[in-house]
Subunit: 353 residues, 2 copies
Amino acid sequence: MTGIEPPFLAACRRKPVPFTPIWIMRQAGRYLPEYRKVREKVDFLTLTKTPELAAEVTIQPIRRFGLDAAILFSDIMTPVEGMGVDLGFDPGPVIGNPIRTLEDVERLRVPDPRETVPFVFEAIGILREELPDSAPLIGFAGAPWTLFCYLVEGGASKTFIGAKSFLFAEPDAARILLNKLADLMSAYLRAQAEAGAQALMVFDSWAGLLSPYEFRSFALPAVRRTLAGLRGLELPLIYFPNQGSTLLEDATLASADVLGIDWRLPLSRARAVVGPEVAVQGNLDPAALFAPREALGTQIRSVLREAGPGPGHIFNLGHGIERATDPDAVAFLVDCVHEWTEGETGALDPEKP
Amino acid sequence: MTGIEPPFLAACRRKPVPFTPIWIMRQAGRYLPEYRKVREKVDFLTLTKTPELAAEVTIQPIRRFGLDAAILFSDIMTPVEGMGVDLGFDPGPVIGNPIRTLEDVERLRVPDPRETVPFVFEAIGILREELPDSAPLIGFAGAPWTLFCYLVEGGASKTFIGAKSFLFAEPDAARILLNKLADLMSAYLRAQAEAGAQALMVFDSWAGLLSPYEFRSFALPAVRRTLAGLRGLELPLIYFPNQGSTLLEDATLASADVLGIDWRLPLSRARAVVGPEVAVQGNLDPAALFAPREALGTQIRSVLREAGPGPGHIFNLGHGIERATDPDAVAFLVDCVHEWTEGETGALDPEKP
């Protein structure tokens, strides 16, 4: 580590930065030809379980774009398999033995992730050797509610009505399952930090399926428990309640340093809700990367303007990048954000084009 | 028509009602055994195109539950076929010739729906004969943006990235398509009113995919154009921007009498945004119908409490009913809403259980 704090970590702490840092959700992925080349040789599961390859695809977008953070290539379901879950991918997660009763919940183990998924921590070790200091490594986990969705529904779904109705029909069993997932994710994230991760992010991809009441009753206590288990770790915690525009006030109670904001809520409105003590990450619509350069530039400028002059903004998309995206549009995005915010505060310079 | 205005129509106009009226999105559908019996004999498309059968399944939930409004059984894609769209269902809409260029857009016709879908207006005629006065008939159409999603994407999708990227990549062609759809839906809704529909609803199922900027630039002008084409009709207009929590302020500019609210936003917050001049419709989470009766009762009471004592609340779910729902839970819901709100204002009586 050099003496100067990388801009991404500084922004997470709401400190001044020399420019607005940027990284991109799912930045290691199919839109990159170099990623597709690796995937020609191995399937997705093998890739996540082979430390050298996982590290390689994690680094690819850093090399190509000069992004300000790297995020471990893995899947949110990876640590769940060791609970006794029959997990496959097709291409989304498919659970052979979905949870339907209290007995199913009680049967699940809370293993030590250092024993069940050692390859994750090996990949982190390799990455800390190979990544430049300018690109800190983000470790991550799925939020308990989002993992719950897959475990109960048995696979991907538009409405996850099976998972949601389980909350209502079996609230006690649901809470036990959420707590088990919280404890496992806490241990998993802690082990990632011990292996060298420099920030930790919790993805709550399905938070937006819940009403504020349901979020407050079920999902939020489980996130709080996950993050409470990380107390004492000296690194930024990021929580992303996807599609959570109506949940943000509650989401601040998760006590994360940074909240991820999807593209539906302008950052000025998000800032007004979450307050000055929380940094925000987001929130360009991934579809904007399909626009001609001028229109894309307008959208980028709009995100920076909405973020405002205050510290504590990490630029990102409002959701994972789409596989049909042109990598050159990403290069343009990264350059715009860096150039237009270069200066004393790291906010949009109104003099720049 | 009797001299007394049915509670549903009165509530749309924010007049006092003897109890809070209730109907349920997708109330005619697969969760009802009597609907499944009809579907054993005919496929979905045949059902929508056979006036006697469409009328029969429309009436089924009125007979069973004593709901306060009926909604025509049909599909939002029905009037689109006449534009020159190669439409199938599998089971969601599948478009054989998706729109990809300005030329594709220009090739689409704006037909007279009275010629292309006469069966819709015949079904309305039958229904006005057969429905009780207590259950006014709602006609409906898809919002231009939501129809656009299917026409451009070519079928159902989680992200509709194809449709959204077309907005950004070809904004002029996108606007021409949205305008054509607005003009057709306007004519279609007007013809439904002329055939006897007593209220008109516009479903914007995919509004929630858009940021406020995108909504304001594309979806909203098209809804405004649709509703502006209905000026002079003396019946309530309902607009449902699904998942539109961050769009409501803009959605009021559509000038609908009623806005549908999904379950993510408590009605008190929705009311604060849309103001006293607009009625609200919603917003019980469809998953709550899977809860034991006591927990379901708590959720129903919570929706009524959030709606507040003011006039202008139509009870509904926050989204279409799920096919695995127990019809007895629906009967319980309807009875609770009616019993707990019976009185001078039609709002929740705090003395009732």
